[in-house]
Each structure stands twice: as structure tokens, then as C-alpha cells.
């Protein structure tokens, strides 16, 4: 069996992040997840082999510092894989987004992952074969119902594109853009997709595809409805599970 790897996943108490955490932890890796709730509140959600760090990305610099401090306490001298997945969104008329919404969206979805990448630099460089993975969104090309969300994800895309070149040969920087996923993010965002929800991507499929794409390491890369069809055609999920 391969050496256990040190894996950090932000936003790992819900949705795709949680699924990724379980998959990597069950594979025998050292998995640390972050979230904004207190450790007490997430106790029942996480398996015993997953470590939790409270880091609220609404204050990006504090979140980055909290993560680095906690990883040092855990005795991490290197990080093999960091998946920066935490993010939030809110649907609605873009001109009705007030300054608090806009500030929060940019802080949580863009500034925080940038500052966390910045803080993780030494740990990532200390691993021979490390990967920094940013979770974007297919909405990064613009979305009239999710203006600030689309902006934050476009920012991540530009960041990943440039940093990938800077860190080439040292850390594989990758951005993965999933299409709409059937997690409770849309409920949280106050958006009822109606009948369209049927074609939303299944979270298990997305988590599986993200892991496959991380192995391949290509960037940028999207997970869309077309990928779902290919997944069926390759019979991947007929034989697994």
C-alpha cells in the first residue's frame, strides 16, 4: 500500500468536501478538514480518523493562520494534497446584493483560498509530489443569477492559471470547475432550480470524478453533464460499489 498522505480539505463538513474527506480517510490517509462551525457542532459528522480545524473564511487572514497553527500542532512538516473547496453562494438579482454580501462572497470564496494557498506554501514545497487543488465552478464564465459567486470563481480561475505556471515543477496547481451539483448548497443559496435539479450532478459522481481528475492533474478542467454521460458510457459506476 502507498504511504499515507497528509491531505487538507477546506469546507469538509458538508457536500463534496465531506465525501472527499471520507474517501481519502478510508484510503488510509491523514485527513484534516476545516469548517466554520465549532468542533462540538461537527462531532457527529466526521469519522474518528478525520481531524477538524475551525477556520471561518469570512476572516481570510485569521482562517489561514488558524489552519497553519493547527497543522503545526498536529506535527505536519509537509502537505501532499490541499483541496480548497470551501465556498458559499446566494442567488438573486445582482443589483440587490448589498455590500455585506459582496464582501463576504469575495472574502470566503476568493481571498481566503488565496491566503490559505499562500500560508501553505512551505508545507506544499516540503512534499516531493504535492498538489494544490482549487474547486471553482462552471459559472466562472459569468452567471446572471449568481453574479458575485461567478466573480469569485472567475478570480480563482485566474489565480490558478497564473500560479500553475509560477509553481510548475514544484507544486501541481489545478482548478476543477464542477457544474451544478445536487447538494444542499442551492437550498442554502435560496435558489430553487425546479425541474432542472434532475440533471444536476450527483455528489458521489462529482467526488469520484474530482479524485480521478486530481490524479490526472490537468488544469483547468470542468465536470459537466457531458462528463456524467461519459461516466455512464465507460461503465465505471456499473462495476464499482
Amino acid at each position: 500500500m502507498a504511504e499515507p498522505r497528509n491531505i487538507l480539505i477546506t469546507g469538509g463538513t458538508d457536500g463534496i468536501g465531506l465525501k472527499l474527506a471520507y474517501t481519502y480517510a478510508n484510503g488510509g490517509n491523514n485527513v484534516v478538514v476545516t469548517g466554520r462551525r465549532s468542533a462540538e457542532d461537527v462531532k457527529g459528522l466526521l469519522a474518528v480518523n478525520i481531524t477538524y480545524i475551525k477556520a471561518d473564511q469570512a476572516a481570510p487572514d485569521e482562517a489561514a493562520n488558524a489552519i497553519i497553527r493547527a497543522l503545526a500542532k498536529l506535527g505536519w512538516h509537509h502537505c501532499d494534497l490541499a483541496i480548497l473547496n470551501a465556498g458559499n453562494g446566494k442567488a438573486g438579482d445582482p443589483l440587490a446584493e448589498n455590500s455585506r454580501d459582496l464582501i463576504n462572497r469575495i472574502d470566503v470564496n476568493l481571498t481566503a483560498p488565496i491566503l490559505i494557498s499562500h500560508a501553505l506554501e512551505e508545507l506544499l514545497m516540503a512534499s516531493a509530489n504535492s498538489k494544490l487543488v482549487l474547486i471553482g465552478s462552471t459559472s466562472h464564465r459569468g452567471a446572471s443569477n449568481f453574479a458575485s459567486y461567478a466573480a469569485s470563481k472567475a478570480g480563482l480561475n485566474g489565480f490558478a492559471r497564473s500560479l500553475r505556471e509560477e509553481w510548475r515543477g514544484r507544486v501541481n496547481v489545478q482548478i476543477i470547475h464542477p457544474g451544478p451539483i445536487a447538494t444542499n448548497m442551492h437550498d442554502k443559496a435560496g435558489f430553487d432550480p425546479g425541474i432542472i435539479k434532475r440533471i444536476f450532478l450527483n455528489p458521489d459522481f462529482v467526488a469520484r470524478t474530482i479524485i480521478r481528475k486530481i490524479k490526472k492533474g490537468r488544469s483547468p478542467t470542468s465536470i459537466s453533464f457531458a462528463a456524467r454521460i461519459i461516466d455512464y458510457l465507460t461503465l465505471r459506476n456499473w462495476f464499482s460499489s
Partner: protein, 254 residues
């Protein structure tokens, strides 16, 4: 016409100011540089209204919006203020990145939504966002600057339909290097300044695009060519940018 310009004291903002004032329009000029604003006041007198505000300070930004609400509505709003940070990503302190994202991304979003959402721009008016040619090419050595400009480009595109509904037009500008102090500070060593576009020329391109209600402006031949190449071969383009910029970067600047 009444025009609002942020970052009005230097560079492109100043060129836009001078051009629009010269054409007889009224300008509200925003900048953090008090002395520069005083100089504008002295030159243009009652044709200009200057307001000092540091757009990286959230409280000042919100105060500014409240202050603007007491003015008559604008016809053009040009969200031009921006800063950069160049060098290896890991060599620049985190607080410089926070400041950059506030000025380049957060402030124009808050101003656009705040002004358009409370009828402070006349029907038929325009908002101009200044993105960057890095949107087409990537920018190793300025990855957070690139992030800030990609974000504002997607934001402009996303609010376009909602703005169209209330009669507002959105222009996004993707300038390449401009002959300003900003470019001088952040360009790699030995870069040829004469190849950069003069701010007066860029300002004229922007005024024409606003009049013509264009959605996107890639000013000049280099920008147009880079846009096409960046679309056709994005990864090759970013790698080329690494060669011509990142590997030649001198001192870290932020």
C-alpha cells in the same frame, strides 16, 4: 454629462479626467491622493468635484457611497482605480493581497451594485470596468492581480442583463501595458516603455467605446491579437507569459 472616475489622479484615470473635462463634461473625481485632488481642483475649478477616499478601507468606501447619493445621478461611472503586486506569489505578504483584492475587486463591485441598485446612474448611462489583458493571457508573477481582474470581468458580464433591464450599459476594458507609473513599477527589468500604450490613447479608446455602447474593449492591435491567441492556446499563452515576465522579474513590488 456627469462622469464619475475612481483613481482619477494618475495614469489612465487622469487621462480620462483631462479628456472628459476638456470636452466640457462635469467630473466627480475619486482618489486617495489628497494633493493630486487639490491640483485637479485648482486646474478645473467648478467643473470638477473631488472626493478623497481610500477604496481599500471598507468604512471609507461605504461613506463615499452615502456621500454620492446626495449628488444628482451620473451618466458614466468609470471604475478605474486599481493596484498591483508583482513578484513570486509566496514573497509578497498576505496583507498586500487583501488590500489588492479590496481595491481591484470588492470596491468596483460594491460601487456598481450600490450606484446602479439605487438609481444613481441615469437611464441610458454606462458603467465601465477596467479588467486587464491578463484575462486573456494569465500573468505569472502577478497571480492575485490576475485573479482580481478575472473576477471583475466575470462580474461585469454577470450583471449586464440586470443592468440592461434598467437601461444601463456595461463596458469591460482589457488593456495591455499602459505607459504609466503603475506599469513602470511593475514591469520586468529592461522592458521597453515605448511599446506601452499612452494613457491618452487608451482614454480616447474608452470614450469611443462608451459612446458606441460596446460591451468589450481590447484596445490596440497587441491586445486584440493576444485575446485571440489566449483563446486558441490558453496554456501556451500562460507559459509564454512566464518566459517574458516571471523569469525576468526584478524586485518584488506591492
Amino acid at each position: 454629462m456627469r462622469v464619475l472616475i475612481t483613481g482619477a489622479v494618475e495614469g489612465l484615470g487622469r487621462a480620462l479626467c483631462d479628456q472628459l473635462l476638456g470636452n466640457g463634461h462635469f467630473v466627480t473625481a475619486i482618489d486617495y491622493n489628497n494633493e493630486g485632488l487639490a491640483e485637479l481642483d485648482q486646474i478645473w475649478g467648478d467643473k470638477i468635484s473631488t472626493i478623497a477616499a481610500d477604496l481599500s478601507d471598507r468604512a471609507e468606501l461605504l461613506n463615499l457611497l452615502e456621500k454620492l447619493k446626495t449628488d444628482p445621478p451620473f451618466d458614466w461611472v468609470i471604475l478605474n482605480a486599481g493596484i498591483s503586486a508583482t513578484g513570486r506569489f509566496e514573497d509578497i505578504p498576505a496583507n498586500a493581497y487583501q488590500k489588492l483584492l479590496r481595491i481591484n475587486t470588492e470596491a468596483p463591485m460594491i460601487m456598481a451594485a450600490g450606484l446602479a441598485g439605487s438609481n444613481m446612474i441615469n437611464k441610458g448611462g454606462s458603467i465601465a470596468f477596467i479588467s486587464s489583458l491578463s484575462h486573456a493571457t494569465g500573468y505569472p508573477g502577478a497571480s492575485v492581480y490576475c485573479a482580481s481582474k478575472d473576477a471583475i470581468s466575470a462580474y461585469a458580464k454577470s450583471i449586464r442583463p440586470a443592468c440592461a433591464k434598467i437601461g444601463l450599459h456595461i463596458l469591460t476594458v482589457y488593456p495591455g501595458p499602459v505607459r504609466t507609473n503603475h506599469a513602470e513599477r511593475h514591469a520586468p527589468k529592461g522592458a521597453d516603455a515605448s511599446k506601452r500604450m499612452a494613457p491618452e490613447v487608451l482614454a480616447a479608446h474608452i470614450v469611443t467605446a462608451l459612446k458606441g455602447k460596446k460591451c468589450r474593449l481590447y484596445p490596440g492591435g497587441v491586445a486584440k491579437l493576444s485575446r485571440v491567441l489566449g483563446k486558441l492556446a490558453p496554456n501556451t499563452m500562460s507559459r509564454l507569459m512566464r518566459k517574458i515576465i516571471y523569469e525576468k522579474l526584478g524586485t518584488t513590488r506591492f
